[in-house]
Amino acid sequence: MSDWVGVALFLVVGLVFGAGGLLTSFLIHPRSKNKYKLETYECGLPTEGPSWIRFKTQYFTYALMFVIFDVEVIYLYPWAVSFENLGFAGLVKMFIFIFILVLGLWYAWKEGALEWK
């Protein structure tokens, strides 16, 4: 529990640090208002169309694979923390685990899910 006091302190200092910079800037920065300030790219081309567009469906395949390997990380985490106590058997078991998952990745690769067109 007391370990997390440091985390809380870090959070508070981080918040004060970030908010302090923004607040000081807000208090002392010069103000000039014109319509170019509101453009997306201040000195670039004028933007066209709405910014909320429909995204390419293929992003979703990447999201799916990310979720699978994110769940894999949960299993890797306790293994990595006590890696030294588990010995060679632990290494072999984890390699079997990863091998089974790599089969899934291989299938995804074969199906062209990783190709971007």
Binding site: V7, T61, L64, I68, V71, Y107, E111, A113
Partner: protein, 172 residues
């Protein structure tokens, strides 16, 4: 709650969870709702930390704040409505919802107050992750490998469902 700091942290986290959960259901833009959902999940992770469950807290941040919200953001962005400003409409059916939710809250509260909470006499383990690894890799190694098979099946199944990928992949 063993001391005033834990109580303070709990109150702050509870406020954070409730506030962001309220914003999730009331904000009009679904993407903003998802972003507040991430704040809510991180608050829940904080309460897990208060309960000395650091592994569950890490999983909460990794899977819920990371993966689940990424899935939601992608889902929202792929099935776009013409106007994102009204993608999360609110309905104010208070008359139906308030007695239902209030009744449920009272029932849960009564049952919690009545129930005999079993308190383990053992010391709370300071490090849950280190204790978890031998259980996972020695005692339950077969279910552990089966979990890998399950993940692979989920991956292949999900890819089969988005089968159009192959047509795209071969440059049609």
């Amino acid at each position: 709650m063993d001391n005033v700091y834990s109580l303070l942290a709990f109150v702050l986290l509870a406020g954070m969870i409730l506030g962001s959960a309220l914003l999730v259901v009331t904000l009009r833009n679904l993407v903003h709702s998802v972003l507040w959902l991430i704040v809510m999940f991180i608050g829940v992770a904080g309460t897990f930390l208060l309960l000395n469950a650091d592994f569950v807290a890490a999983v909460q941040v990794l899977v819920y704040a990371g993966a689940v919200c990424i899935m939601l953001v992608f889902g929202v962005m792929l099935v776009q409505r013409p106007n994102m400003e009204h993608s999360n409409p609110i309905n104010w059916r208070f008359k139906l919802a308030a007695p239902l939710v209030g009744g449920l809250f009272i029932v849960i509260g009564l049952l919690t107050a009545k129930s005999q909470l079993v308190v383990s006499g053992q010391e709370v383990p300071a490090q849950t992750v280190q204790a978890l690894a031998p259980i996972l890799l020695n005692d339950f190694v077969i279910p552990f490998e089966v979990a890998a098979i399950l993940l692979t099946v989920a991956l292949t199944g999900a890819l089969l469902l988005v089968k159009e990928v192959k047509a795209n992949g071969n440059g049609s």
